[in-house]
Symmetry: C2
Subunit: 364 residues, 2 copies
Amino acid sequence: MILSPGATIGILGAGQLGRMLAIAALKVGLRAHIFAPEAEAPAYDAAAARTVAAFENEEALARFAEAVDVATYEFENVPVKTVEFLAERVPVRPGARALALTQDRLTEKKFLRDLGMKTAAFVGVEDAGALARAVAELGRPAILKTRRFGYDGKGQSLIREGSNVAAVHRALGSAPMILESFVAFEREASVVAARSLEGEIVAFDLSENEHEKHILARTRAPARVSAETELEARRIASTVLEALDYVGVLAVELFVTRDRQGREGLVVNEIAPRVHNSAHWTLEGAQTSQFEQHMRAIAGWPLGAPTRRGRAEMHNLIGEDAAEWRDILAQPDLCLHLYGKLEIRPDRKMGHVTRIFPESPASE
Amino acid sequence: MILSPGATIGILGAGQLGRMLAIAALKVGLRAHIFAPEAEAPAYDAAAARTVAAFENEEALARFAEAVDVATYEFENVPVKTVEFLAERVPVRPGARALALTQDRLTEKKFLRDLGMKTAAFVGVEDAGALARAVAELGRPAILKTRRFGYDGKGQSLIREGSNVAAVHRALGSAPMILESFVAFEREASVVAARSLEGEIVAFDLSENEHEKHILARTRAPARVSAETELEARRIASTVLEALDYVGVLAVELFVTRDRQGREGLVVNEIAPRVHNSAHWTLEGAQTSQFEQHMRAIAGWPLGAPTRRGRAEMHNLIGEDAAEWRDILAQPDLCLHLYGKLEIRPDRKMGHVTRIFPESPASE
């Protein structure tokens, strides 16, 4: 189904990604209707309508499906059953499959491996005994992660030389886990790309990312990688988008590695079936933002040009960083985004700041 | 009063300017509360809250004043009494004076003349007899305008050689009018500038405007004028902003003239005490958009840099133009904005399209 201006986009989730998606909807004459359980959250202020209800509330979901023309989600921990329930009533883009896949780190890694992609070595871990065998197989350091509900470093732990494996396992709880070998990367990157309803694929220039305490701290675009690596990243994104028959924006997180011969390579870390923090720079730095791109894709519209407008740097405002808002506003080359979160909490993404450095058109 | 992120901006009026102001508020972590009489209008979808009530409804206005931290207006035909009522309860930026002044073309022209600015020759016209004398004084062609409630060419009529003056007068009704001599301009331009609470003034580069049927059709920035003319336009804007002790964004519409010696000059046409269609290009084309600039100013925040990011062209989508939305989306260098107006009507501003042509940093 192809939408017309004036149509309503249903968005599951009410965080800052939902807020920026709703703003992008407004720009192109669409309406946003947010569905989320929280009474207060960033996206509501940007939306024409809201439903505050649990993701399991089928009565509320049925009414929501009636009220929207297409539905999407802004974070990957929406229950798959919620999306399946909606998908019987209204198009959901991207669909339940991408969601289910990325909710389980083990399924996701297998999917990537089956597509022929290079990932960290990994083993599924059902209990403490299996973990001991897995550590013996993969060696140390290795990372133990819960298969489900991880983000920003939550639900994972590094197993080093000397770590008490059983204790690490207990600390993460009894949920099914995955052990991954540690990738000695040179830098982290991500490719954010969109696939339209007609199957057209458009990628933004590769982003280079720095994390602090497992949370994205800074992104620069373009990433400092070779042209071959850039092409390889785009090929990876295209392969994933096509394998999932995906409609919308998706991010692939990558490790950039260098082998003993000095050759650059890519290891796929994980997929996010949504707009992504590492492409916030596209709001000022690209002809089309990732948020508008997602709206175009799920509306059945032509994708926009991803053309970069300069060299971009983005840094997140985490926790107390946001208290610097006035100093940031006073700096003429900084572009401030705040998400409307009233309470500053440690590790909470409060906003972000972008700086675009003009490049000569000839040099692009 | 200086606002903090999370504060609420009250906006009188719910048109596309209110919509884009509300979107700008969202970007920097502010909330928008729209007050307007229409049940359906473009700005509501972008606002956290709305009050649908007549501008004369003092009970609703008092509640609105309680709910917002600062108030502003998005069009100049809000009743002055409404703003005066609010101003006793909450800061209104810009205030009632700029509004009252620009609601009456005769008062506005006198204000500009008293500031030493060059305007078209003008005479106030109270009745048909006064009009006959005014036409004799100013000559033909001349433009007869109602003093109040004019926009997009409404409430005005050209008096040419051979026009039946009495008939023109009757057609415009019996309201007080102003007769203005016709300015033989080379082109039309506008300067859009902001003044902060602390008195800092920042202007965007001059816009060059083309009207069709009295409605803005196209804008390009920078305007093709001499550096002296550009400076003179900025001086005019600064003088007006300071004379009004203005806080917020204001537009001055100008005629660019050329005398018999070939010298370029400026004639001030009128003032709009608000964000202005001729600076919509700043959304993509400037470091800070006019909408964010207005938010910064009325929040008591530092103004943003007006730096242009390239050569900008904007054209309005008027009436049936909006039916071309899909073709526009498919063109990679066009940036589409739609205002969420569901019904296409002739002469209705449905959206606009911007194109930015990169310039080499060295050439700026």
